[in-house]
């Protein structure tokens, strides 16, 4: 029952996506443009679904509910980061869109190469982008493995589960490009809405509360301090300073992710982007229900296997809801992982083909590059499986790591648009300094002393930006 419902949801969506993708496919566009940026014809609705699909993934549903269950208030980052990201997106995305139109850009690395007139910078940025994307794929594989383990019982080894998840994701993306993902994103959003309503209506009754608001009242009585920072585990260091810095880092990094950057190219008009920015924050009010479910699980005494906070929602629903609800949840979570995961793999593949392979082997034809990109995607999926198996962090922690990694490209984008004197060598120097500030143990120890309670990724982004400005200013005085 649970397995068949889950399968029906995933296979039905794939079939619908294929039909939709075939119907929309038009002639006159090169294969790469059609596959990677949907032929630049995304109107407001498709744009909404795809960009919402990228923001509301398993990170949001399994990650945030687990965070609410384990920490309490720190889960509010879901409310903070989307609004701030949309406010920045309102200014930044139309500029990205216009640059894409003007120069016929397909990927983010294209923009770096064109804007800074430095093809080598495109290669560097493509590799940095792929690294951050693979950490994001890791989130989706972790979640998908959890669902497979739940469906197939405890006999499934972590390696087989992750491999199966990666295989499903590749199968999902191979068949078609971004247009099919847009359809699947729509289905997934509607299913998510239905699921949130079904789960939330029942939650009060199942934990002995009178109403949804009563769940919030009771959880604050049972766990004093859960609703305010630093939350249930003060030693975790998730205070107000963490919320502000982590949310800013997420907001600054959101549109810098190569797939989000590329999404701006896919829009039909700058107006479609701006209108989307107005409505998108309202969608994040739905986190009220995700937090509700996390707190409900806490009141019900849910204890996921091995204390794995990513499994809180699945364990809670498995124990307290009928089988069909669990099947619906399992199917929806599969889509929540597959849709963004496939877009992430697709983006890494097009970055590799266009911006790493093509500059090194300029003689290749469009079709050959596409073929090589699709092969490279298998390799990327393999790396993501390896990342998944070597880490057992919470989805939110992995997510913040991915934002930390992509934040390294943020100074090059923001300064590129708003400070005309920014130089390619400055961006490279900033990148090197930023990675050092992010990854060197000595640096992270220093930030913990100087900026206690901050998200170190924001500090590293600041170091990066300062170096970009300093080097660009020096180069201006001594033109090489």
């Amino acid at each position: 029952m649970i397995v068949s419902l889950c399968l029906a949801i995933v296979l039905g969506t794939v079939a619908g996506a294929l039909l939709y993708g075939m119907r929309q496919q038009r002639h006159g566009e090169t294969a790469m443009t059609e596959w990677a940026v949907g032929g630049r014809r995304f109107g407001s609705w498709i744009f909404w679904f795809v960009s919402a699909g990228e923001i509301y993934t398993t990170f949001a549903v399994l990650g945030i509910s687990g965070y609410a269950w384990a920490f309490g208030a720190p889960a509010y980052i879901a409310f903070t980061s989307v609004s701030l990201a949309c406010t920045l997106g309102y200014l930044l995305m139309p500029r990205i869109w216009a640059a894409g139109r003007e120069h016929g850009l397909v990927t983010q690395a294209d923009w770096f190469a064109a804007h800074y007139r430095a093809p080598w910078l495109g290669v560097v940025v493509a590799l940095a982008g792929i690294a951050a994307l693979l950490i994001y794929v890791q989130i989706q594989l972790t979640a998908l493995s959890l669902v497979f383990k739940l469906l197939l019982g405890g006999t499934l080894a972590p390696f087989s589960a992750a491999l199966l998840a990666a295989g499903t994701m590749l199968a999902f993306v191979y068949v078609a490009g971004l247009r099919s993902a847009a359809f699947a994103a729509g289905v997934k959003d509607v299913l998510m809405l239905v699921l949130v309503v079904v789960l939330s209506i029942g939650v009060a009754e199942r934990v002995g509360a009178g109403s949804m608001l009563d769940v919030y009242r009771r959880v604050q009585e049972a766990h004093p301090g859960i609703g305010v920072f630093p939350g249930l585990q003060p030693e975790a260091g998730l205070g107000t300073a963490w919320l502000v810095t982590a949310a800013l880092n997420v907001a600054l990094g959101t549109w810098i992710f190569p797939h989000m950057f590329q999404l701006s190219f896919a829009a039909r008009s700058a107006d479609a982007i701006r209108r989307n920015a107005i409505w998108q924050p309202l969608y994040s009010l739905s986190y009220f229900f995700i937090l509700l479910l996390g707190f409900g699980a806490l009141l019900a005494g849910t204890q996921p296997e091995g204390g794995n906070l990513n499994a809180v929602l699945l364990t809670f629903v498995a124990a307290h809801y009928p089988a069909w609800v669990l099947g619906l949840l399992a199917g929806t979570v599969c889509l929540l992982a597959l849709v963004p995961g496939s877009i992430l793999l697709l983006t890494s593949a097009s970055l590799f083909g266009r911006n790493v392979l093509l500059p090194l082997r300029p003689a290749l034809r469009d079709g050959q590059v596409l073929w090589a990109s699709r092969v490279a995607m298998v390799g990327f999926a393999g790396i993501a499986v390896w990342l998944t198996l070597t880490s057992n962090q919470s989805l939110v922690a992995i997510g913040l790591k991915a934002y930390g990694a992509i934040g390294m490209l943020a100074p090059g984008v923001f300064l590129g648009f708003y400070w005309p004197r920014t130089k390619a060598l400055g961006v490279l120097a900033g990148l090197v300094a930023g990675y050092a500030a992010l990854l060197l143990p000595a640096a992270t120890t220093l930030w913990a002393q100087w900026f206690p309670g901050w998200d170190a990724a924001l500090v590293a982004m600041g170091v990066n930006a300062l170096v970009v400005v300093a080097v660009s200013a020096v180069l201006r005085q001594n033109p090489a």
């Binding site: 903070t80 609004s83 305010v228 920072f229 949310a247 107005i278």
Partner: protein, 78 residues
């Protein structure tokens, strides 16, 4: 000619509401509808953000029209 867009300073409001005022909101004891205040504050901030973006969008449309009119006007002159 470019039209000035002073209304874009409004885009700072979400950052003040949802980031700068976080330490203050964390100390408020009042629980609207039984919700923890910092959570209710963030949710209100989402409504404020959408409202601010809507106002800025409308003002931007007006500014774009002025810009177009000015561009057409200068073409007609020359």
């Amino acid at each position: 000619m470019t039209v000035r867009r002073p209304h874009r300073w409004l885009l700072l409001v979400p950052f003040v509401w949802q980031a700068a005022l976080v330490p203050w909101s964390n100390g408020v004891q009042w629980r609207p509808l039984g919700l923890p205040f910092p959570m209710a504050w963030q949710m209100a901030g989402i409504l404020v953000t959408s409202a601010v973006l809507w106002v800025v969008y409308r003002r931007d449309q007006v500014a774009a029209q002025l810009e177009n009119a000015a561009a057409n006007g200068s073409k007609a002159d020359s």
